[in-house]
Symmetry: C2
Subunit: 343 residues, 2 copies
Amino acid sequence: MFLITLQLFTSAVFSFIILPMADKNRYVIGFDLGGTKMIGAVIQGERVLSRCKKKTGAEEGPEAVLRRITGVIKTVVKEAGLTAGDIEGVSMAVPGPHDREKGIMVYTPNLGFRDFPIKELLEKEVGITIHLENDVNSGTYGEYKLGAGKGYSHVIGLFPGTGIGGGIVLNGRLYRGATGNAGEIGHMIIQADGALCGCGQHGCLEALASRTALTKDTIAAASAGKAPKTYKIAGSDFKNYKSRVFAQAYKNNEQAVIEIIERSAWYMGIGMANCVNIFNPEVFVLGGGVVEKLGTKYVKLAEKSMRAHALEHLSKDVHVVEAQLEDDAVLLGAAHLLLDEGK
Amino acid sequence: MFLITLQLFTSAVFSFIILPMADKNRYVIGFDLGGTKMIGAVIQGERVLSRCKKKTGAEEGPEAVLRRITGVIKTVVKEAGLTAGDIEGVSMAVPGPHDREKGIMVYTPNLGFRDFPIKELLEKEVGITIHLENDVNSGTYGEYKLGAGKGYSHVIGLFPGTGIGGGIVLNGRLYRGATGNAGEIGHMIIQADGALCGCGQHGCLEALASRTALTKDTIAAASAGKAPKTYKIAGSDFKNYKSRVFAQAYKNNEQAVIEIIERSAWYMGIGMANCVNIFNPEVFVLGGGVVEKLGTKYVKLAEKSMRAHALEHLSKDVHVVEAQLEDDAVLLGAAHLLLDEGK
């Protein structure tokens, strides 16, 4: 018992020594490295002191991207009136699987990176410690800390766009899994033998409810003459089918497309119901391009389907809300993960 | 900063006061209240000091069940050479949703309980604090602490029997969710519009891979003359289709039934793949009647399907093992939840 007492007092002393300074004296950089754009910002608590946005320009190769990242970091440090030494670290949200310990981006198709040692290379350039995070996890954490998920401690983030990103906050902490890559809710199979997914499987939530899924069905309908107004806007080129095309279908009362959207929201609700039954969460935060453009109408459809498919004793108290932080969710979440976890 | 120091020292002192005695001086009762049988045992660390098993006899009504539970508890306390005052608590694993805070079994169809205040009633009878736990959660925790999941910290337990129970251990702790009822992996929809489930939905994992699912397909095949050896053993009565009937189909080389089992294991693998993509776990522990009777052959089929359906960077290091503790998993897990969480 003496030993226990000693240990406790020792750890109390250690806690005191390593206790971080109050947030107001801490500066971190949140960084969102996306496929098309990058945004960096110096964060002090809930304040954004400076921010800088650039095109990623992945087509010019990893070194050019690295140069631009370095430029953004140096710019925001300077604009915040600070030096590299004032910054606790850069928390960099990246798309795709990465090795968090080693700071390597394992495979990022839309950046053309493979086994890219971004941490080591960047630290040499900017003299600040770099921490890698998953982009959707960061976005979910941002919404949990400062946005639509504030005040809850069991939060599921779902972000339908080209794919469907997922993030999980459990008991007030980001859930990362055994090797740091948990949260691939978009690749939950909800219809065995269903539509083909980009990952090669069939019937993933993403294959049934992402913008890609919407596009596949709509482009076929439009090309077959069943959605003439949509065809007039977006034609038959896959690349033209942005989320706003689907929002326009509602305005144009384009029934064939509305049915496709409603079916997609219905599948989204099945994915959400599965999360309810597994996680017993308090709230879903829905964001991403599809939700931003289709708005409350879409969210309500998904929510209705969730309630129709989940176990009632688990779904009755679950909330469904729209994301609030838009472009800033990822960098704010990344920054706050570093502030809260200090590593 | 002085305040912080003070707080830390205070909490150190409090920790000291409320710190439980070393496990070897702690006695708890693990209790498994099942639909057909109940087992109680006095546990001291990893040792079972006494155990007692009775039929539940739910058909005689809640009061008779309560009397038998009381009898089991008093018997194990006495046989361990202890008195009620020596026991820290009874950790009682129950089937179905319950209110853990209030100690109420909300709805338990196979016991005929509804809003049953079991904690209050039992505490009066035995004079020991009663804690409710979910049975499958307890079983998973038992395997994690003392059985097939030992040494891992991200463990998913799946137990196919009449239904499919699920339990989740994340970062070395049982995951309970916002209201204590997480882990309903059996009701994850993996085939929208698929086979009808007991919960009323279509295409739940349970509707495709439980013994009930096996029985529905086999009884139809057997009744149509496609599985004559199985028909000879189990006939056309649903109740005759125990897990051993399916094990027998392998021995008899009954192809129609073997195909049904293999398809079921394939669906089980899809459910597991979804868990891999969402949780990024280290290990699956598979148990329950179906796994106990069909053994390694079934587990290997499910594992193969899991690897075929999950994201490769997440599944490559995942282990799949068979449960080891059989009947004792639930009561040991319940006991150790109380020992580890102390509440």
